[in-house]
Symmetry: C2
Subunit: 342 residues, 2 copies
């Protein structure tokens, strides 16, 4: 079983994933992305359903059975899960250190049965299906009160940490609130306590007013290059309607998100020649009942999606300090992307 261990100095939890237990030789001969011609051996392709752990959820044709062909979007457990649902939390100490069992969930959302297609290729109805599966998995896992945070994210391309080429997203649900999420929650609450307004709503209003960091505005969403972007061509997509929870999005909002997300990813692909990227859905944690610093969370937190192209290497400065050097001003990112057709 994996372990969660806490750094005694800064309080950061890490997952020590014994499931994956790598020996030095595994790092020397690194995994490469499986090339397309090996698609027929790909565990995520239609017809290879027996090569994955059992299906957790799928959108599939009415006359088909689980773990067989006939699906559009399919969710399975990660074959090498960083966290598992079974067992107890087992909080304990090792001398001055704290640890607990690696309780949680680690799922893979296979976005399409077709090996050759990725998010930028899907038609809008299919993209909306993928996003509705994100929503369903989030709502389902929130029923488990031990899971405090549900993170949906995508690694695209080898430089972004993807190990399989077939288009997929991931979900990790954790029994603690991760450090950077907690910092965001605390920052948003601090602003709300002072101003009685949502900091993200204020950013949206100001950025639409200024215009220089705006990449696109639709009925429901806005895409901006954030003022203090860590990476070149970093883009945030925010819903214009205040809401802490992605999984309370309406069907219309999911369609709107699919449209602006595909548009941004297509433009990034054109301007940066199909770059590797990560995207991450930043949402409020599961909370029931609302108490402690959850008290005002419905008003103070605002979900959003962060897209980070992985086109520069991070060095000792960034890893050592959490301080980033970004060679592309966000205003230039916005100009490049705004002027481009999809």
């Amino acid at each position: 079983m994996s372990e969660l261990r806490k750094d005694p100095i800064v309080g950061r939890w890490v997952i020590i994933s014994t499931e994956r237990g790598k020996r030095p030789a595994d790092f020397i001969h690194r995994e490469r992305l499986k090339p397309s011609k090996l698609g027929h051996l790909c565990p995520f392709c239609e017809g290879n359903e027996d090569k994955t752990p059992p299906e957790i959820y799928a959108l599939r044709n009415p006359d088909t059975r689980p773990n067989s062909p006939g699906w559009q979007v399919r969710v399975v457990a990660n074959k090498f899960p960083a966290l598992r649902l079974g067992g107890d939390l087992g909080r304990r100490e090792v001398g001055m250190f704290d640890m607990m069992n690696g309780i949680g969930a680690h799922e893979v959302i296979i976005e399409s049965p077709d090996h050759g297609k990725t998010l930028t290729d899907f038609d809008l109805p299919h993209l909306k299906k993928v996003l509705s599966v994100y929503k369903e998995r989030s709502l389902d896992l929130k029923k488990n009160q031990r899971l405090k945070y549900i993170l949906l994210f995508k690694n695209y391309g080898q430089d972004a940490g993807a190990s399989l080429e077939h288009s997929h997203s991931q979900l990790i649900a954790t029994s603690i609130i991760p450090k950077r999420i907690k910092e965001k929650l605390q920052g948003a609450k601090r602003y709300f306590d002072y101003k009685q307004r949502c900091i993200f709503c204020d950013i949206i209003h100001q950025e639409i007013d200024y215009g220089v960091r705006i990449i696109g505005v639709s009925h429901d969403f806005v895409a901006i290059a954030p003022f203090a972007a860590r990476f070149p061509f970093e883009v945030w997509i925010l819903p214009r309607r205040h809401s802490p929870d992605f999984d309370r999005s309406s069907n219309e909002e999911l369609r709107g998100l699919g449209k602006i997300l595909r548009s941004i990813l297509r433009r990034l692909s054109r301007v940066l020649n199909n770059p590797s990227y990560n995207f991450v859905l930043h949402v409020a944690p599961s909370r029931s009942p609302r108490r402690g610093y959850w008290q005002t969370i419905d008003k103070d937190y605002h979900w959003h999606l962060e897209i980070m192209p992985r086109i520069v290497k991070t060095g000792g400065f960034e890893w050592g300090t959490g301080f980033y050097i970004n060679p592309t001003p966000p205003e230039e990112t916005a100009t490049y992307l705004r002027e481009l057709q999809e």
Copy 2:
């Protein structure tokens, strides 16, 4: 001039480095490490002193002149500095956002005139010279009261962000205390306020007692695989004598550090086949006078060096949450490295 910009939600500063101002095409055709055979064109090689910005400091033969051959270790300004010394801080606002000018220093420490040698090849007297140059540059820059933090680090290999092959380290001095450093300082102070002891001293004692995460112990230093390591084969080197400041190390301590550092780097190189790595010196900030949360810093903070092999890709989960999945338990890291001869 570069700008420092503050993320309004989490309070993290980033450097928007207009000096480097990269266009999309610069990311597509990425810089590759210059191969060894191009050594005669390398700006860091002896004889090419006119290809770098002017010398800031050097250890050189007594009868030689600055910016000419005859040196052993040479310090120059970074050709594309992220920060510069001149001008005023210019703290200002942009609507709800905060920013200031990119004041600071960005230096390159060329560790040897010989293109073909790196830290693992140096003899111990030369390694001690490199570390004494770290110390001299730190002491010199501390005279500038605007520079709050001096970070010494090394990027080795392309996956660690190195853009030139010739062995070198870097120094970045900043007018603010970077986020992760502040978290370490606060964590160490919190522990001291509660226990009246240094957390790093306690970790050293406990780890020597337990033994399982110890890689090596010398008269002056200890090398451990940290309990909550973020990365496989992450190693920390800590001085056994309590001190917040690397730059107050004695000559004997610099020799001892050189010895254990070379030993660890050689073992990492053997077990992981010459991996890319970053290392970072974590020291206390410049402080004069001692006040605020500096009051107990002489007792609560303890300098150390963190070595992070760059052998796994970080994905959306890590970037999105600050939560890491490490597939190699630190106890295994320690076993592999402890059992190895250099």
